[in-house]
Each structure stands twice: as structure tokens, then as C-alpha cells.
């Protein structure tokens, strides 16, 4: 599966557009991480626990998108976009969407 956020893939021709695919996940921060983040938050700088958390969650959202594309029989997803929104205090939704396509050389 080739993933890009451009409209074309160099070296390939897009033979069929299969439509929009998407994946999302909502994550809440957990207590252990929150405690460390609270301490770190006093002095500023990067909050590594949260960076990891968001990374994991985004990988999950991307995986769900890929899964959906695979059921459509796609070879690639183009024009991928990521969006993040906080749905409530302490929880955020990560969303990935793109266009599933079939490609040929």
C-alpha cells in the first residue's frame, strides 16, 4: 500500500478512483501519563508521554483507513489529510482521510 498526501504518485498512473476512505480514533490521556505531564507542564517544554500517545493514536487511525482501503481493493491512498479535534476535556479525536485508488505502471 502506497500512501501519499499528493494528488499523484510519480512513476504510476491512477487507473481507478475507489472513493473516500477514513479512519478515526478517540483517545483520553491516562492517569499515569497525566501525572507526569502535570509535573512537566509546570516547567514547560515537550511532554513526551503525550507525544507518544498521539503518535500511537495516529498510527491506529491510519491503520483503520488502510484497512478500509484494502476491503475496496485499493493499491494506494492519495491526498491523505490528518485532522485533530478535542471532543471533550482531556480527550481528542484523531482522524485520517484520503482517496483510495487503483494504480498501474
Amino acid at each position: 500500500m502506497i500512501l501519499t498526501n499528493t494528488e499523484e504518485i510519480p512513476g504510476y498512473r491512477i487507473s481507478k478512483y475507489l472513493g473516500l476512505v477514513q479512519g478515526n480514533t478517540i483517545r483520553a490521556k491516562n492517569i499515569g501519563r497525566d501525572l507526569m505531564a502535570g509535573l512537566k507542564n509546570l516547567v514547560g517544554g515537550e511532554i513526551k508521554g503525550y507525544t507518544e500517545l498521539m503518535k500511537e493514536a495516529r498510527t491506529e487511525a491510519t491503520a483503520r483507513m488502510i484497512e478500509q482501503a484494502e476491503t475496496l481493493g485499493a493499491d494506494a491512498i492519495i491526498n491523505i489529510r490528518f485532522a485533530t479535534s478535542s471532543v471533550m476535556q482531556g480527550a481528542s479525536e484523531l482522524f485520517a482521510y484520503g482517496t483510495a485508488v487503483k494504480i498501474s505502471k
Binding site: I2, L3, T4, N5, T6, E7, I9, P10, G11, K29, D34, A37, G38, K40, N41, L42, V43, G44, G45, E46, I47, K48, Y50, T51, L53, M54, K55, R58, I80, R81, F82, A83, T84, S85, S86, Q89, G90, A91, S92
Partner: protein
Amino acid sequence: MSELIVILIYLSSFIFFFYAIGKIIEIRHLKNLESREKALSGMVLTNTKKLPGDLIGEKAWLCQGSVVIGADHFKRLAAGLRNIVGGRMKSIESVLDRARREAVLRMAEQAKLDGASALINIRLETSTIGTAGNGNGLMIAEVLAYGTAFRARAKF
């Protein structure tokens, strides 16, 4: 009266402590960013949709980098005061600026490691992920940078 003075001294030393630590972290981070940006100066980074005309792409894949960053207590206090009168919040500007540069660097470094020579169609996204602890914190923000990494060669 003397109790009030003691409380004031206690508070100000507390704030100064956060200011000092926050400042040290910030200066070290900025130095680190500068040296890493220099190391990546040969790489093509653009937010246009197509490769620069003199390059041909051979392989493309998605690449991303992200960072979650918080402002220190002193910055938060400064921003709170600034919020009353309005105007530029310089203390928070620098936090977000550092986060963006860090996110772009992480993305570019990962791409370079995987053998990319160009990164195109870069998008940056910022979102607040809420406040930590008791909720009086001003901000924790996440910055995500993503783009398409290319293994490219020159046309001629």
C-alpha cells in the same frame, strides 16, 4: 503585614524558579533546533504539490512528525496578564514556534533516514489537546507535520 510580605516573597521565588527552568529548557531547545536544521539544509522541503522541475521522483511515501508541547508557569502568567490588555503574546509565540520547527525536523529526519531527498506537499496542523492537571494551565498544544517524501534524482 509581615505575613503578606512573606507570602509575596514565597510566590515570587516560586515564579522565578519556573521562569529560570523554563528559560534554560527553551535556550537549549533553540540551540538544538539550529544545529539540526543546519544538518538538513541539503534537503528539499516545500509545501507545493509538485516536485521542483529539475527533479524526478522515483518512490513516494507518507512521512510525519509530531510533538506535544506545554508552556511553563511563567509564560502562562505573562500570557494571562497580556490577555487583560491585549496585544502580542510573545511568550506563547515562542512555544508554538519551537513546536513547529521540532515537528518539521522530526519529519525531515525520519524521511532522510529512509533515504528521501525531497519532502513535498508539507502540511502543518496545530491542535490544543486540553489542559493538564487541575485545569488552570493555559495550554498544551500538539503540532503535526506531514508530507510526501520522495526519493528523487536530478533530471540531467
